[in-house]
């Protein structure tokens, strides 16, 4: 049965889910800070990243120790590798939240466009949704649900493109233009969070099927739209 | 040719001939022993079977072959064997346990003891007889009694019992002792609860075979005074005779009938011997080593 190995794996997976919930908190925090121009909350989000980094390092060390001691194979090995990747994706998401928080601080005293802020609320909610789907489908080993992340990502991508269009139409006010440019980065951060959620979904599919496969191919796929700006 | 190892007939012919020759030689030696033994047994049974009757088992010997039996002799033998067993087993097993479990080989006296026992096993039985006569019968003033005979047979087979018991004790794997020690058992507990129970089959087998040797001994008994004519059933401190002595005496008689009587005695002796050996084999199989 290899009880020590199973215990270690269970612990790692629980830590990963825990890290995911921390990321969700950071994302919600930075979205709220952005919507309300709350500098103090933005600072909190930035500081909160230490906590996520600690979680990230904890999982990283756990994986190192597990690989060195337990020599997992087959599904156990795939689980460890998937956790290794997912851990990194979650940590990157948290970094994007920090970026959003920092941008919030930079623009808190310049005028901003209400329509766009509302748009971000919607984009952020989609990103949150995607993180939840990614984490849940990983926990449930549900490759089908994981693959549905591609569709969700498509929506975020479209929103991202609309943000760019909207910023271009903001007009000639220099303050508003600076704000708009920074918001393009915010938009991109949210879009990237979605991409990482898709990547987590791919790890789920790998864990279940044992095959490495990208859900969408950004460079060759027919009819796909570029995921990057 | 592609598989040279399998090519037939490559061995020199001489090898095969030598092999066959050796096999035939083995068969011949086996059959010599077998035929001799078989002849003896058949001859004895053919001659003696007519005399194996209640008279043989109950009556004392007599000048009249028709009324002569070996009652006191058979009883004497049985008494001696029981006495022998009662003395030789505790002594032999005790010595074996001491030598195997307690004695420190570094000590000179322990090595001397071991050497002594090995040599004793090779001493001719007549020498034991002389010892018995000098020490037991005259020295201790025991007289020519059954006890003296039993004791001298004890001395005779003691080395055999010790050696067999040592073998049996040594065959108990050390891992069992270590396992017992590791549970906090004392040396006494290890020996009494693990080593001894595990070596009982070997000790029993060895003891019975030693007994079988003692039962056929004549020479030392003659020296310590087994009489050839005893009319009464033997007692511990009375005069006695034994089955082999009785047979020896009958064979020496001139009358043909007594030789047939001797054959009957031999049949009884053989039967006792075979029974004891069979019992030893049964014991060994019953408690076969399981480690």
């Amino acid at each position: 049965m290899r009880i020590p190995l199973q215990e270690d794996l269970d612990q790692l997976e629980a830590a990963l889910q825990e890290e995911g919930s921390l990321v969700l908190r950071a994302l919600r925090g930075c979205l709220n800070a952005l919507a309300q121009s709350d500098v103090e909350l933005a600072d909190e989000v930035i500081a909160f990243d230490d906590e996520i980094d600690a979680a990230y390092l904890g999982i990283e060390e756990g994986i190192q120790s597990l690989l060195a001691r337990q020599t997992p194979v087959a599904v156990d090995l795939r689980l460890v590798l998937a956790i290794l990747h997912d851990n990194m994706h979650l940590e990157r998401m948290a970094d994007y939240c920090v970026t959003i928080a920092k941008l919030t601080k930079l623009v808190h005293d310049v005028p901003h466009d209400v329509t766009l802020i509302e748009g971000f609320e919607e984009m952020g909610a989609r990103a949150e949704e995607m993180i939840r789907v990614a984490l849940d489908s990983f926990r449930d080993r549900n490759a089908g649900r994981a693959e549905s992340l591609v569709d969700l990502d498509e929506l975020i991508d479209r929103a991202n493109r609309r943000v760019v269009q909207h910023v271009l139409s903001l007009g000639a006010d220099p303050d508003l233009r600076e704000w708009g440019l920074r918001m393009i980065i915010v938009s991109r951060c949210l879009e990237r969070i979605g991409d990482h959620a898709v990547d987590i979904g791919e790890q789920t599919a790998y864990l279940v099927s044992g095959e490495f496969r990208e859900f969408t191919d950004a460079s060759h796929g027919p009819g796909t739209t570029p995921r990057d700006l | 040719m592609s598989t040279p190892a399998l090519v037939v007939g490559k061995r020199p012919r001489g090898d095969k001939v030598r092999g066959t020759l050796f096999y035939v030689l083995l068969l011949v030696s086996v059959s010599i022993g077998f035929v001799l033994l078989g002849t003896l047994v058949v001859d004895v049974i053919r001659k003696g079977v007519g005399y194996v009757d209640p008279v043989l088992f109950t009556e004392p010997t007599s000048t009249n072959p028709e009324r002569a039996g070996a009652g006191p002799a058979i009883l004497g033998t049985i008494y001696m064997m029981l006495l022998l067993l009662a003395v030789v087993v505790p002594l032999g097993v005790g010595t074996a346990i001491y030598l195997e479990e307690y004695a420190n080989r570094e000590r000179w006296y322990n090595r001397l003891l071991e050497l002594n026992i090995q040599n004793l096993a090779a001493v001719p039985s007549i020498v034991y007889g002389i010892l018995g006569l000098a020490f037991l019968v005259r020295g201790l003033g025991l007289g020519r009694v059954l006890l003296a005979g039993a004791l001298i047979l004890t001395l005779l087979v003691l080395p055999t019992v010790i050696v067999a018991s040592r073998e049996a004790i040594r065959a108990v794997p050390d891992s069992i002792r270590q396992g017992a020690y590791a549970l906090g058992a004392t040396q006494w507990q290890v020996v009494s609860r693990q080593v001894l129970p595990a070596s009982i089959p070997g000790i029993a087998t060895g003891s019975i075979l030693a007994l079988a040797r003692a039962i056929g001994e004549t020479a030392p008994l003659l020296l310590v005074g087994a009489l050839t004519y005893v009319a009464v059933n033997p007692t511990l401190l009375g005069s006695f005779t034994a089955l082999p002595v009785q047979i020896y005496q009958w064979v020496a008689r001139p009358q043909e009938e007594f030789r047939l009587l001797a054959a009957a005695g031999i049949i009884v002796l053989l039967a006792i011997l075979l029974t004891m050996n069979a019992f030893a084999i049964w014991l060994r199989n019953r408690y076969q080593k399981r480690w």
């Binding site: 020590p4 | 069992i176 396992g179």
Partner: protein
């Protein structure tokens, strides 16, 4: 479309405003371990030739500690010092001290039999006694004179050793009717029946198949809640899998006399030994570059 109504209400990030995170990171408490054995300057020799030299380390309560190293590094000699098994070898000599709960195990007032009651040992080859399953487990309690509730003791020990379900219907069967892995678990149960403090295991799985090995390892993992376990293993992976602490021993060859002596090279937490050992010799050994 994500439903905005169902999205969680905006949250503030608790625990950050007062910078508790930073404080938490600074104030990481040191790992607390209870020292059970304190070995200081231990040297073990046979016939005056040291097999292991100058070992000092601490064994922690409720931890699994593994001794690894190449053949002849003295790891088995070392583990036998903890329950004074070396006392059974007349030529063995142990110098230095092993303190157990602060008491010197080799002190003049300490009885080695008493030590072995508290510190159980499981051997390389399963060594059940040639008795029934029940009697194997009951041996220890009987030796210690614990007569009450023997059945319960036996059942509890067998349960702890994860063997009860497999043998509960044939407790009277010979221990030799069990498979190798079951026999080894029986030997563990036998140790547990005397309620020791410590389990010493000298390569407990080296004679077993992989499935049985896993069973033993899982068992150890469960037992460390209640016992302190010390294991010698030649299988590094096994040490990596089961041990909390790992000690690496190596052989030192004296150029002049060609004499080989075991030494302790490194002792640390198992993950450290297997991911970032402090000594080059340890790294060479665990990566397979040794020799």
């Amino acid at each position: 479309m994500p439903d905005m109504e169902n999205a969680p209400a905006p949250v503030t990030i608790a625990g950050v405003r007062d910078r508790r995170v930073a404080e938490r990171q600074q104030a990481e408490p040191p790992v607390h371990r209870d020292v059970l054995f304190d070995v200081d300057g231990l040297t073990a020799s046979y016939s005056g030739v040291p097999a292991l030299r100058d070992v000092s380390l601490e064994i922690y309560k409720n931890h699994i500690t593994a001794f690894i190293g190449p053949s002849g590094c003295g790891k088995s000699t070392f583990i036998r010092c903890f329950n004074r098994m070396n006392d059974l070898i007349p030529t063995a000599l142990v110098e230095g001290t092993i303190r157990y709960h602060g008491l010197d195990l080799y002190g003049p007032e300490v009885d080695s039999v008493e030590v072995r009651k508290r510190i159980g040992m499981v051997f390389q080859k399963p060594n059940p006694f040639p008795k029934s399953i029940y009697d194997n487990v009951a041996f220890g309690p009987r030796v210690l004179g614990w007569k009450d509730g023997l059945d319960d003791r036996v059942e509890q020990a067998l349960r702890q050793a994860a063997l009860w379900d497999e043998v509960k219907n044939r407790l009277k069967a010979s221990a030799y009717s069990l498979s190798g892995g079951q026999q080894q678990r029986l030997c563990i149960a036998r140790c547990l029946a005397v309620q020791p403090d410590v389990l010493l295991m000298d390569e407990p799985a080296s004679a077993l198949d992989p499935i049985s090995t896993t069973a033993i390892e899982d068992l150890m993992h469960g037992l460390k809640e209640a016992y302190t376990i010390v294991i010698v293993t030649h299988n590094m992976q096994q040490a990596a899998r089961v041990a909390d602490m790992t000690a690496f021993f190596s052989v030192e060859v004296d150029e002049e006399s060609d004499r080989r002596t075991g030494i302790l090279v490194e002792y640390d937490e198992t993950p450290t030994i297997f991911t970032n050992p402090g000594d080059k010799r340890t790294e060479d050994y665990v990566t397979g570059r040794f020799g």
